[in-house]
Amino acid sequence: MSAEASAINMAVRASIWLKPHRIVLILIALALVLCAAFFMRWDWLPQYWEMGLMGIWRALWILAVTCALGFALAVPLGLAQAGGPIWFSAPAKVFCTVIRGTPLLLQLWLLYYGLGSIFPQYPWIRESWLWPYLRQAWPYAVVALTFSFAGYEGEVMRGAFAGVPRGQLEAARAFGMSRWKIFRRIWLPQAFYRALPTLTGETVLQLKSTPLVATISVIDIFAVSSKVRQDTYLTYEPLLLLALIYMTITGILVFVFSRIEARIPVKIG
């Protein structure tokens, strides 16, 4: 794009924001923010900001790990439902239905309190190398969130795998590709492109599920804000800041995914 065209583009973009009613609304919003900054209490910030950064880091870490693991699990789940024999597709379907039919909070508490209370009864578990991990809360959080992501995304991947045109796979077979090569070169990439737009939404949903891990004593940013509320008896300030933090992370996620989406070929099929 030439410099002139991009300048015109910038001007158009600016004029969208500079309509009279928008300027008034933006000024009102700024006034509200300034009121919040001056009339609410923020003196607790210096004491807690380090803990807050740790919390944000932990939430992002859980988000990244569970999305990656969950997607890795969703591919076989989708594949089994889209083209697998019945003894693969039926368990995969049951798994997706159960995960999507029960609240995540209940799954989390089932794993943490339910399984967590069963494990210590068996001496061979307590003596195994896994025990130091099983005594902490975060493995349960990671497993529950991974399963949740896999359940929802598995359903999406089923549709994506089924949506790849038959002709593509037949052509690959006619070229003499092996089944693994067809999967790796044709089926998976095309299904992934199809699933990518929904992946943005799923990742944002996953981000919005992460505060639940605070209920099983994982110290993420939500738990930090609860601690601030308990220590300082402030109700609104920590929650408002928390909402702002989540909105910022959501905005960054949506921006990054839109960049990735812009890079893939638009015409598929």
Binding site: L104, V204, L207, T235, Y236
Partner: protein, 236 residues
């Protein structure tokens, strides 16, 4: 297994009361969300520039912040606000019932999502139908009742059905603010009897039953709302 029996030494009755509360909240929140959604969709499509911008802020913010944070914010802010208004008008403070607060909070969240669903559904109506209604001289209220709402229904039902399923599961989040619904009932029962696994599995089965039963009903409603239209499979 006798832990789950409905007579007093068992906790089955407690769980069922919790399930009833969950369903009450979910139904109330979905209805409130639908009202907000219809109003919001019309505001976004036909409202003035200020209304549109404010609604855009509402749907964006609510969909970007975790439900748990919104529930805490609205739960405290909402009850506080009502009490302050009452105090300013010279009434004494009241205790807001958990049921009303829960319905309000979840309905507010659901409203943002259903605004988007209904807006999309209205846009999917063939433009000629609305123009024909205008040409007949229908006032907006009558047009809404006779044309827009029935014509958008087949497009909106899949999205709204999803929202209903999300609402039934979001009621579990109210356990965190201490409202007595199925998940909190389960936690109490499990905490007293120490039989964590049994109770959480039982609650999971109850939630799953609600979902599966809803799916059955939704299928019927969807078929009814699409009557006279070509089936999805044939259209492909």
């Amino acid at each position: 297994m006798e832990l789950l029996s409905p007579v007093p030494p068992g906790w089955g009755y407690t769980l069922l009361v919790g399930l009833l509360h969950s369903l009450e909240i979910a139904i109330g929140a979905t209805c409130l969300g639908l009202l907000i959604g219809v109003a919001g969709a019309f505001g976004k499509l036909y409202g003035g520039p200020v209304t549109r911008d404010l609604l855009a802020v509402y749907t964006t913010v609510v969909r970007a912040v975790p439900e748990l944070v919104l529930i805490l914010l609205l739960y405290y802010a909402g009850t506080d606000l009502i009490n302050q208004v009452l105090a300013a008008m010279g009434y004494s403070r009241v205790d807001i019932s958990g049921l009303a607060a829960g319905i309000f909070v979840l309905g507010f969240v659901q409203g943002a999502y259903s605004t988007e669903v209904i807006r999309g559904a209205i846009l999917a109506i063939p433009q000629g139908q609305i123009e024909a209604a205008r040409a007949y001289g229908m006032p907006p209220g009558l047009m809404l009742r006779r044309i827009t709402l029935p014509a958008m229904l087949p497009f909106a039902i899949p999205g709204l059905a999803n929202l209903w399923l999300i609402a039934t599961k979001d009621t579990a989040l109210l356990a965190v603010v201490g409202f007595f619904e199925l998940t909190l009932a389960t936690r109490q029962a499990a905490g007293v009897t120490k039989a964590y696994l049994i109770f959480y599995l039982a609650a999971g089965v109850l939630y799953l039953a609600v979902t599966l039963f809803s799916n059955l009903i939704i299928g019927r409603v969807e078929a009814w709302s699409r009557r006279g239209m070509p089936s999805v499979k044939e259209a492909r």
